[in-house]
Amino acid sequence: MVAALSIALALISIGCILGPVGAVVIIYHDDLTQLVITPEIRDIMNGNSSILPDMGQSNDGNSNNNGNSELGGLMAPVFVSAQFDDTTNTFTGVFNITNSLSEDLTLNSFSTDVSITQTDIPAGNVMLSSPVTVHAGETTQLTVTGQWSQTALDYITNNYGGASSVDLSLTNISINVNGIVIQTAGSVQISVPTNVVS
C-alpha cells in the first residue's frame, strides 16, 4: 500500500509539470520557437510592434512637420495657437495632444533649444509651462512658453518680412513622459508661423 502510494505521488509530481508542458509542445509542434518567442514578442524584438510607439523618429536633421513634433512617439501634438509678447520677447504656444494608447500618460516636462535653421543663430529655448496628464484615448491642451533672443528676432524681422513661416531647428530636446526621460542629440526641423516670433 505504501509502495503504491509512493509511486502514485511520484507520478503526480511528474504529471503536474509534464502534462501542461507536453500539451503546449503538442499545440506548437509545427513551430516550436513560438513556445518561447510568440509573434508579439518577435515584433517587439524586431522593432515593428503595434503595441510600442515609434520612438526612433527624426534625428536625421531632415524632418519637417510644421511645428508638430511627436513627444517620444507617445503623444502627437497639433499646433492650435500662439501669442507673442514683444515687450518681453516671450511667446506662448498652445497644442492639442492626443493619447491614442490605453494607458494614461503624464507629460512631466519638455524643453528644447531653438535656433534659426538657415543661420544657426540661437533663437532661445522652449519649455512646458506645467505638467499635463492625458487620459487614455483623450485629447487635451498643453501650453509651452519660450523667450526669443533679440539677435534672432532682429534677423527674422530683417529677413522674413513677408514670409508666413520661419524654419527653426530644435536641439537638446528633453521629454519626460511618465518618468521616462528621452533626450535626443540630433535636431528636429520645424516650421512655425511668423506671428510666434515677431
Partner: protein, 196 residues
C-alpha cells in the same frame, strides 16, 4: 478510538490552496516602468506576464510552467489536507513528505529564478534591474534610436503574497515537525494475544 487531526497541517493545506488563488491575481514580485506605470512585469510561480501599455503578453512555455506550478501546489495542498485528518496511518508520513515540500520549493525556486532573471538581464542586455526599490534605468545604446538617450524610472518590489508564501512554507515545515510529536504521543497498538 478518538481520531487525531494535525491542526497545523490542516491550516497549512488550506493556506496553500488559498495561496494559489491569491497568486493568480496578485503577483509575488512586480516590476513597473514609468510613473504612472506604462509597463509592468508581474511574477508569481502561477502567473508570470508582461503588461505593456495595457497589452498583456505571455509566453506558451511560461504559461505551461505556471499551470504546472499551480497543479503541483494544488496537489500539495490537497494531500496536506488528506494527511491532516489521517496523521496516524501507516501511509501518513508519505503524504506529509510529499505535501510539505511543495510551498517550500515554490518559495526557494521563485527566489532563485528571480535572482537569475535580474542577473541574466544585466549580463546579456546590460539592463540593471533592481530587485527592490526605485531607480533610473538607462537603456543600453544598442536598444535606443541613434543619438538618443533614454532613461526610465523603474520600481520593483515584493508584494504581500510573497510574504504569505513564506508563512505558508513555514506552516508546512511546522506541520512536519508537529507530526513527530503526534507519532511519539500515539500509543502503540496492543500486542496480539499470544497463541495458546
Amino acid at each position: 478510538m478518538q481520531s487525531k487531526i494535525n491542526i497545523i497541517a490542516l491550516v497549512a493545506g488550506v493556506s496553500t490552496l488559498l495561496l494559489i488563488v491569491i497568486s493568480l491575481f496578485v503577483p509575488w514580485w512586480q516590476f513597473s516602468v514609468g510613473n504612472p506605470a506604462i509597463a509592468k512585469v508581474n511574477v508569481s510561480p502561477v502567473n508570470l506576464n508582461l503588461n505593456i501599455l495595457g497589452n498583456t503578453l505571455s509566453d506558451p512555455i511560461v504559461y505551461a510552467l505556471n499551470i504546472g506550478s499551480a497543479l503541483t501546489l494544488a496537489a500539495g495542498g490537497i494531500i496536506m489536507l488528506i494527511y491532516s485528518v489521517k496523521p496516524d496511518k501507516s501511509y501518513s508520513k508519505k503524504l506529509l513528505g510529499f505535501a510539505y515540500k511543495k510551498p517550500l520549493y515554490a518559495v526557494i525556486l521563485f527566489v532563485i529564478g528571480l535572482f537569475s532573471l535580474t542577473f541574466l538581464a544585466d549580463r546579456f542586455s546590460g539592463i540593471s534591474v533592481p530587485l527592490m526599490g526605485s531607480s533610473a534605468m538607462s537603456l543600453p545604446q544598442g536598444m535606443m534610436p541613434e543619438g538618443a538617450n533614454i532613461s526610465v524610472g523603474v520600481t520593483a518590489g515584493f508584494v504581500w503574497p510573497f510574504y504569505f508564501a513564506i508563512v505558508v512554507a513555514g506552516l508546512c515545515v511546522a506541520a512536519r515537525v508537529y507530526h513527530r510529536k503526534i507519532s511519539v504521543s500515539t500509543p502503540l497498538p496492543p500486542p496480539p494475544p499470544a497463541p495458546q
